[in-house]
Subunit: 108 residues, 2 copies
């Protein structure tokens, strides 16, 4: 899988999933991996950045199956960022698909 395609999109995917419900990092890795290949080395630094930017907040929760899990929860600000990214993504993806399919572009 082309790693370049994921740039920026991974952030959007994480915010969308956290908008559904709180999740912990390892869980995000697995959930996203069901859709497309992703590595832990991408998720953890991203989650840290999202927290630093105020898009998510975290809390620890004990687990019987291993070490404590760090859950991530979407903030109001994170919801706005998510909505902006999703809108941009959909517009961009539509433009690219139009180009690939050889459609004449409307604007310009």
């Amino acid at each position: 899988m082309n790693a370049q395609f994921k740039k920026g999109v991974l952030e959007m995917c994480v915010l969308v999933l956290l908008g559904e419900r709180d999740r912990y990092g390892y869980e995000l890795v697995q959930d996203i991996s069901h859709r497309f290949e992703i590595s832990e080395g991408s998720i953890y630094p991203l989650l840290r950045r999202l927290r630093d930017e105020g898009s998510v907040v975290t809390y620890l929760q004990e687990s019987a199956e291993g070490p404590a899990r760090k859950y991530y929860s979407l903030t109001e600000k994170g919801g706005i960022v998510r909505d902006d990214l999703v809108a941009e993504w959909q517009e961009f993806a539509a433009a690219v698909n139009g180009l690939v399919k050889g459609e004449k572009h409307a604007e310009g």
Copy 2:
């Protein structure tokens, strides 16, 4: 427009457009700009890389409207790269759209 979304996709777009017909760099900038924002500083280094990799070949052609144009022509190898990228893109975009729409994923 989120610059990250374009990573990798720009290469695919250039190869698709060159698959339709030969184009020169400035023309590619304008054609793609009709779909989404793009800058010359992205296109020219990309075209050089594609030539170095053997995906395109170039030839000069005089112009009455300005300096000579450098036309780019897709090679057979470039066509294969294009097809691979398009297939990967479509699979990836479908996976992302499914995630954004909250659809249950089929595989896994």
